[in-house]
Structures are given as structure tokens and as C-alpha cells.
């Protein structure tokens, strides 16, 4: 067996089996994530149908241009992540891999930063339930509109948590990549991590229109 065909972990017969197991494992995990977000998206949809007017009015208080800018940042980070995964194969091009990973992490951090500023604006405008819910312009249906913001914060914070976990893992991989023992288990891991990162982006692609646009 050549080095490329050797599995990293002893429970596998060869690298092909290990790769297959890792891929299936990651996709199965993403399936659980879809149901995780699916539960709360279902609840949101139920209330949107119950209170269409209140939800529409509440949605108008968000800033679509901030959301659009953040969507752009996130899509670009998916692109750099794809480039990083593309670089994974060649051992010689380790520097480029590190560069793309750091760029992806920076773009992710930008998204989180923008989101934090947006939360601050929402807070100042009295749109944050429990902490400060005294809208500058009062709502026609205050209770139902508050429900919209509960879901807005719940969904975006859940998404942001996934991003922060992703950034931490990415920085961890950068550290590992820079070390000498950069080996093929890390290559496999970065490839799988790429799937996770794209998935988190896709979640945002769903959140952005339902929260910002269809108001």
C-alpha cells in the first residue's frame, strides 16, 4: 500500500474506506442540522401564517442592505473555502491553503462583526425582546411583532453560533497546518470541514429572504 492508500485510523482497511466513512458521516451530521434548524423554521412559518400583517410590519424594521452586504461576505467566504479545499491535495502548496483558510476565517469574522453592529442598532431602536423592546415607532400589533423579533434573534444567533464554532475550528486547523506533521488526516478533515462551512452559508441563504426580504 502506498502512503496515499493507507488509512489514518486503525479501524479502517484503506484510505478509500476512510474517505467514504468521513463523507457519509459529515452528510449525516448535516442532515441532523437540517432538522435542527427545520424545527424552528417550522415554528416561524406557523406564526408567519397566523400573523401575516404583524410579521410583515416587523420585518420592515430590519435593514435589508446590511443583510445583503453580509450575504455577499458569506458567499465570498464560501468561495475561499472552496479554494482551500481545492488546495488540500497538494502538499507543496501548503502556504496557499493556509492563506485561503485565514481569509475564510476573516470573512466569517467580518460577518459576525457586522451582525453584532446590526444587533446594536436593533437594540438602540428598541427592537430586542426582553432587553429593550420599546420600538421608536410603536407597532400596530406589538405582541405579535415582538414574536417576529424573538424568532429573528433566535435564528440569527443560532446561525452565528454555528459560524463562531466554524471559525474556531478553522483557526485550529491553520495552527495544525503550519506545523510539520501536516498529514493526510488533516487533509481529510479540512475537506469535511468545507462541507460544514458551505452548509452554514446555505442556512443563511434561507434565513436572509425569510427574515429580511419577504416582509
Amino acid at each position: 500500500m502506498s502512503e496515499a492508500e493507507m488509512p489514518v485510523s486503525m479501524q479502517f482497511d484503506d484510505a478509500a474506506q476512510e474517505h467514504e466513512a468521513a463523507t457519509l458521516g459529515m452528510w449525516t451530521f448535516l442532515a441532523t442540522e437540517i432538522l435542527f434548524f427545520g424545527g424552528v423554521l417550522m415554528a416561524f412559518t406557523v406564526y408567519r401564517r397566523l400573523y401575516p400583517e404583524a410579521f410583515s410590519q416587523a420585518g420592515h424594521r430590519l435593514y435589508p442592505w446590511i443583510g445583503t452586504a453580509n450575504t455577499g461576505v458569506l458567499l465570498f467566504s464560501s468561495f475561499t473555502m472552496a479554494l482551500a479545499v481545492h488546495e488540500v491535495e497538494g502538499l507543496a502548496r501548503r502556504n496557499r491553503l493556509v492563506r485561503y483558510l485565514i481569509l475564510t476565517a476573516l470573512l466569517g469574522a467580518t460577518f459576525i462583526g457586522v451582525k453584532a453592529i446590526e444587533y446594536y442598532i436593533d437594540y438602540r431602536e428598541g427592537l430586542m425582546p426582553h432587553f429593550n423592546f420599546h420600538p421608536v415607532e410603536p407597532f400596530e400589533h406589538p405582541i405579535q411583532s415582538q414574536l417576529f423579533f424573538v424568532f429573528y434573534f433566535f435564528l440569527t444567533m443560532l446561525h452565528a453560533t454555528h459560524m463562531i464554532i466554524g471559525i474556531v475550528i478553522m483557526l485550529f486547523y491553520v495552527g495544525r497546518t503550519r506545523r510539520a506533521d501536516y498529514a493526510h488526516d488533516l487533509r481529510l478533515k479540512i475537506e469535511m470541514f468545507g462541507l460544514y462551512w458551505h452548509f452554514v452559508d446555505i442556512i443563511w441563504i434561507f434565513l436572509f429572504p425569510i427574515l429580511y426580504l419577504i416582509a
Binding site: F29, T32, F36, G39, A43, Y47, H130, Q146, V150, F151
Partner: protein, 549 residues
């Protein structure tokens, strides 16, 4: 085979196995070996089982008399909640998959370990943290909402220790998810040469079906509990009608997981029973494909029936009708299993050892539990018996009469494999009989009580229900002895019982081709499979000494 090996190479003075190859503390705290993790789970959930039965003892003592003499109503609420939460989330759901599934799944398909050993270890510690958080909630006085945490009671009105309890269950849920991912990937990618899907042991099929529910159901419970926690912590109205929320939505989300969770508890038990019946009837399992596919069918149908918990909660009548019909449908794959087991037993050469006694008990009790489930799936009958002891008796026939019997059967059947020692057969038979009679005496009267109208979750009842309640409490004490006996003799057997040898039951199945206890990487020679599963006809020919050509 072992004799053959002896002639080839001088055997070492002490054969190394997964238990004794490394005694360092770190190797027991952070094992990656699926068998050690399984043993850790076994110890933990056994403890949690006895912890969860303590409130049940107090409940049965309280119900000896019609008036609430022993505990106050508030304490009574906390007792049945603790019993339900501990037994459902911290014993029954992890019980068979994380112990016997963990230990046996890789061995049964001829693999060296699960696909992701670190994830497996993480699942154990995540489970432990979840269990500890739930215990913290108990220290702070417990929770009084019942194990279902219905809103707005749990979020607005309950003044008990909700937060650690919710997070405990939320975190423990990830242990289910990790286990589910691990099992699915292992079964898909790590079968040894010749182990086709159509040759998988039926226990593996049932674990596959269970894992499907783990990965598709548990995340929904997790997000529901997170929403509940947000509402509880910040006083926002996700499920609170006063703040625009819909309490029924909580019930939909909760039962979307928690009804399939019932099949998480019973499906692995069904897999165990298939193994036991084939082995102890000395016969090929009747209708292998039907038994295998019915596990998957139960897992899929299980996701479509949750509304039958809500017939009287105000969901639309038409939704109720659909859920009622779908619930009836679950009876079809369940009955397929029961008929196939019965036909396997028919004209088999039965060996009446303890595991088979538990399997026979399972068939009878599961059938009663399943058939009374049909009563409850009928909307008209459900209105009458909803929230009565009829429901209690029904699901205990499935959970205790089914899942728990299978768990004990599995314990006796695979104990020699896991520990290398036999268990005392006489005591085993005695306690199996005790459990069977104790169980029926406890729960059969509750069918009658429920039908007569005794409601659940209340510490007091009408005086004319007392005779049946006394019978039930008497049965519970017999059942308790039946559970304590195995705890004693299993420990005893570790030292005093004879060594088991690799295959004490003369069973087929790859796990029996390995020494007991198995070596660290499961097999001395990695196996291949050349024949159908449960090929007891061939085994019988060999036993009779006839050369099979």
C-alpha cells in the same frame, strides 16, 4: 479454531483482551475502544436505572392508600417527573444501543471498531454531562411538570428547577445524535467481506432503524428544548398564548421526537429478541427479510403518528383521523415481527435458558402492549381513557414488558461475551420468572383501573380503586426483587462462575467467532462471511457429527 492456533504458536501465558490489555487510568477514562465505552455506558445507565426506580417505589407506596398520606401533591408531581425523565431520557433511550449496540455492532459486522471512535467517546461524556445536569436539577428540588414539559406550565407557571433539567436533556440528546451517526456510517461502510445487507444480523438492522430515528428525531427535540429554554429564561412568548404563542405547537414539536423515541426504545429490543429466538430455537429465523424491513418500516411510520398524543388537545378532528389511521398502520410491521418470531419458535428445538425466557416474555407482553395501543389509537376510545392508568399500563407493557425484558435478555445472552464468564443459570431462570410475574401483577391491574377511570399523575384516588392499587404495589415489590437479583449475581459471576469460552450458546454470528472477552481489535483473524445468517441447520448437522458436503 483455538486448538488449531495452539499447535501453530505457543500461546502466551495470559491472553490479552480488551479489559486487561491496559489498566492505566487514562485508558479507562478516555478509551476509544467501542467495547470499553459500551461497558462505561452499561455501568452508568445501570446506576441511572436504579436512581429512576426510587421515585417509582415512592409512587407505588403512596398509592397504597386512597389519600395522599406519604407525600404532598407537589412532591408527588416531582416524583413522577423524576421517574419519567430518568427512565425515558437517561435509561430507555440509550439502554440497548449504547451498551450492547456499542459493544456488538462492530463485532457483528466484522469490523475492528466503529467508524468514529472519538465521536463515540464524546457521546459518552456528553451523555454523562447531561445526566449530571439533570441530577443537579434534582438537588434543587426537581421538576414538577411531568416528563413532557408541556407549555405554558413549564415556562410560565412551574417554579421548579427547569433550567438545568432542560439543558441536561438538550445535551444528552447530542449523545444520541453522535451514536446515530456512528452506527449509520459503520453499517454502511465497514462491513467485512461477504457481509451483505441481506446477511446482516437482525440486531444490526434494528440498530440501523433506531439510528435513523436518532438522527432525524433528536435534533427536533433539541431545538424545541432550546426554544423552551429561551422562553423560560427571557420571558418571551414562543409557546405562551398570552404573548401570541401557541402551546399546541410545542406539543407538535415535542411529540415529533418523543413518539419516534418510543420506537428508539423498542426497536433495539426487537432486534435482541430476533437474535435470542433464532439461537435458542436452533433454527434459521423465519422470514428474515420481513423482520429486517419491518424495523425500517416502524422507524419511518413512527414519524407520522405523533398526533395521536393530542387527540384531546384541540388539534383539528381531521388531523386526528389521519393520525389515528397512521397509528393503526404501525401495528402491521409490529405484527409481522411477532408472527415471524412465533413461526421461528414453531417446531424449533427450544433450549429454555434465561435469555429465551426473557424473549418469550417479550413476545407476550409486547403483544399486549401493542394491542392496547390500538385501543388508544382509536379516537373515540382515547377520549375515554386519555390520561388514565390505561395509558400508563399500555406504555409500561411496551417500555418495561418489552424494552426492559429485551435488555435483560441481552444482558444474559451476551454477558459471557462481554465478561468471559457465565452467569448462574438457576438464579437467572428464577429472576426471569419473578420479573415476568411481578411485572404483570404491577401493570395488569392498571389496565382495569384506567378503564374504570382512575386518572394518572394524581396522588389520591377513590376508595373503591384501592384493592387493585394494593395488588399493583405488591407486584412492584416482586418486580423490584427481580431486578435486584441480577445486579447481585452478575457481580458474583465475575469471580465465581466458570469461564465461558468463545461460543457458549453454539450461536452463529461473527461476535461468537472471537474469544470471550474479545481482544482489543475484536478478532484474532479478521472474519469473512460465506453463508446466510442464522444458519442453524448447518450448525445442527455439525453438532450431530454428520459430514456436511
Amino acid at each position: 479454531m483455538s486448538e488449531l492456533q495452539k499447535t501453530i504458536e505457543p500461546s502466551p501465558p495470559r491472553r490479552l483482551n480488551y479489559i486487561n490489555h491496559d489498566w492505566s487510568v487514562a485508558s479507562w477514562l478516555w478509551p476509544k475502544d467501542h467495547k470499553r465505552i459500551g461497558v462505561m455506558y452499561l455501568v452508568t445507565i445501570t446506576f441511572l436505572f436504579f436512581l429512576g426506580s426510587m421515585p417509582a417505589i415512592l409512587i407505588r407506596l403512596e398509592l397504597l392508600t386512597p389519600k395522599a398520606h406519604l407525600v404532598t401533591h407537589d412532591i408527588y408531581n416531582r416524583l413522577f417527573t423524576m421517574h419519567g425523565v430518568t427512565m425515558v431520557f437517561f435509561f430507555l433511550i440509550p439502554s440497548i444501543p449504547t451498551t450492547f449496540g456499542n459493544i456488538l455492532l462492530p463485532m457483528m459486522i466484522g469490523a475492528r471498531d466503529l467508524a468514529f471512535p472519538k465521536l463515540n467517546l464524546a457521546s459518552y461524556y456528553v451523555f454523562l454531562i447531561g445526566a449530571i445536569l439533570a441530577m443537579v436539577s434534582l438537588v434543587y428540588g426537581g421538576v414538577d411538570t411531568g416528563w413532557t414539559f408541556y407549555t405554558p406550565y413549564s415556562t410560565t407557571f412551574s417554579n421548579s428547577a427547569m433550567t438545568p433539567m432542560i439543558f441536561g436533556i438538550f445535551i444528552a440528546g447530542f449523545s444520541s445524535i453522535f451514536t446515530g451517526i456512528n452506527f449509520i456510517v459503520t453499517i454502511h461502510t465497514m462491513r467485512c467481506p461477504g457481509m451483505y445487507w441481506s446477511r446482516l444480523p437482525l440486531f444490526v438492522w434494528s440498530l440501523y432503524a433506531t439510528s435513523l430515528i436518532f438522527i432525524l428525531g433528536t435534533p427536533v427535540l433539541a431545538i424545541t428544548l432550546l426554544l423552551l429554554a429561551a422562553e423560560h429564561a427571557f420571558g418571551v412568548g414562543i409557546f405562551n398564548p398570552a404573548l401570541g404563542g401557541d402551546p399546541l405547537l410545542y406539543q407538535h414539536l415535542f411529540w415529533f421526537y418523543s413518539h419516534p423515541a418510543v420506537y428508539i426504545m423498542i426497536l433495539p429490543g426487537m432486534g435482541v429478541v430476533s437474535e435470542l429466538i433464532a439461537t435458542f430455537s436452533r433454527k434459521r429465523i423465519f422470514g428474515y427479510h420481513f423482520v429486517a424491513y419491518s424495523s425500517v418500516a416502524i422507524a419511518i411510520l413512527g414519524f407520522l403518528v405523533w398526533g395521536h398524543h393530542m387527540f384531546v388537545s384541540g388539534q383539528s378532528m381531521y388531523a386526528g383521523m389521519v393520525f389515528s389511521v397512521l397509528s393503526f398502520l404501525v401495528a402491521v410491521p409490529s405484527a409481522i415481527k411477532v408472527f415471524n418470531w412465533t413461526l421461528t419458535l414453531y417446531k424449533g428445538s427450544l433450549v429454555l435458558k434465561t435469555p429465551l425466557l426473557y424473549a418469550l416474555g417479550f413476545i407476550g407482553l409486547f403483544t399486549i402492549g401493542g394491542l392496547t395501543g390500538l385501543f388508544l389509537a382509536a379516537m373515540g376510545v382515547d377520549v375515554h381513557v386519555h390520561d388514565t392508568y390505561f395509558v400508563i399500563a399500555h406504555f409500561h407493557y411496551i417500555m418495561v414488558g418489552g424494552a426492559m425484558m429485551a435488555y435483560l435478555g441481552a444482558m444474559h445472552y451476551w454477558w459471557p461475551k462481554i465478561t468471559g464468564r457465565m452467569y448462574p443459570e438457576g438464579w437467572g431462570v428464577f429472576s426471569a420468572v419473578l420479573v415476568f410475574f411481578g411485572f404483570n401483577l404491577t401493570f395488569f391491574p392498571q389496565f382495569v383501573l384506567g378503564y374504570m377511570g382512575m386518572v394518572r399523575r394524581v396522588a389520591e384516588y377513590d376508595a373503591h380503586f384501592q384493592v387493585l392499587n394494593v395488588l399493583s404495589t405488591a407486584g412492584a415489590s416482586i418486580l423490584g426483587v427481580g431486578y435486584l437479583l441480577p445486579l447481585g449475581y452478575f457481580f458474583w459471576s465475575l469471580r465465581w462462575e466458570p469461564k465461558a469460552g468463545p461460543n457458549p450458546w453454539n450461536a452463529t454470528g461473527l461476535e461468537w467467532q472471537s474469544p470471550s472477552p474479545p481482544p482489543e481489535l475484536n478478532f484474532e483473524v479478521m472474519p469473512t462471511v460465506n453463508g446466510p445468517p442464522y444458519d442453524y441447520d448447518t450448525v445442527a448437522l455439525h453438532e450431530e457429527g454428520i459430514k456436511h458436503v
